[in-house]
Symmetry: D2
């Protein structure tokens, strides 16, 4: 499985602090939204934030995503690949090439 070392280290970090009690799927979903907004804040007034700051905020979003994947007992890479397969069908390359239109308006 991918990112096994990361998941192991995250779980150890959480267990050392007895924080698993706070990590319901709902709390993790709220946390992902909260961190996603801190990432968005890098771009609040214009498009040129420091790469370092963006990277740090992205790491926070990913951290909570991996904790939620672990909680749901799914593999993060595998669910992305599964979803990609679905999305291929909704956005056939020949119809959607170069267009950002949402699939139900193609």
């Amino acid at each position: 499985m991918a990112e096994q070392r990361v998941i192991r280290e995250l779980k150890a970090f959480v267990d050392e602090r007895d924080w698993a009690q706070f990590h319901s799927p709902e709390n993790l979903a709220k946390s992902i939204s909260i961190e996603a907004a801190e990432l968005l804040e890098c771009f609040q007034w214009g498009p040129d934030p420091s790469a370092e700051r963006v990277t740090e905020e992205l790491a926070d979003v990913l951290t909570y995503c991996l904790l939620l994947a672990e909680k749901l007992d799914v593999d993060a890479d595998q669910i992305v690949l599964n979803k990609l397969e679905q999305t291929r069908r909704k956005y056939p390359a020949d119809q959607s090439r170069g267009r950002s239109t949402k699939y139900d308006q193609l």
Copy 2:
């Protein structure tokens, strides 16, 4: 590097549709927030959504996170591990065990 197959497949998917033009770091950050809210919507009125739906929405958030990591030329697992190291220092295990208090209120 972790998730190499996933990144390769995502890039191929994006290139086939000529969508890289839409994937500025800012647009990807907006997308992460948008998908994070769709994940949160699973829990909008209560805590028991179908695991299938939560998994699918989580996959969407992860997809945009991986695209942004690729755009910034960083490894998703590595930046999570780097951030974890920082967080260990802000949340010493002995002071934060069992407490959800934000670190500047410890």
Copy 3:
């Protein structure tokens, strides 16, 4: 029009600081998401935040909403009433009473 005093004071505040230049509809939309997440953060690990903190974060969301309404030249109260009229039709009282189901699953 409702909230005329509030809009006037917000505009004066923005003009004194020459900040209107940053207030594109897109930047205001990003700001609303960012502040909404700070409000959500009051509830990140559990349901009992201080009313004072929630009120302050709600004020931030409302502030950016009013700035966007002003930018779009619409009246905040009127657009809420207009949308309510639409929603009455999507959620007929007799079919949706006591149910939180999204309207297309009624």
Copy 4:
């Protein structure tokens, strides 16, 4: 009080459907984030959405904000004015004129 008619109509709408049971402060905070992201989605791939669509999504955010204000028993306009007073002090006009820098970096 401002927006009394709007609050009255929103309360009537909610009561007719027996939906107050779902409107805990936390669920309302989640709803505000969810709707804020739908507003942001108007700008996901570029800056020129239809004003009609933006107005409708803004109305949804405002609706939940007013429901939360009502739940907290505060006046939406008053809390914005109170917060503005605080913000005047953090962003003195002479120091912040024309600059979007966050106040602790002024």
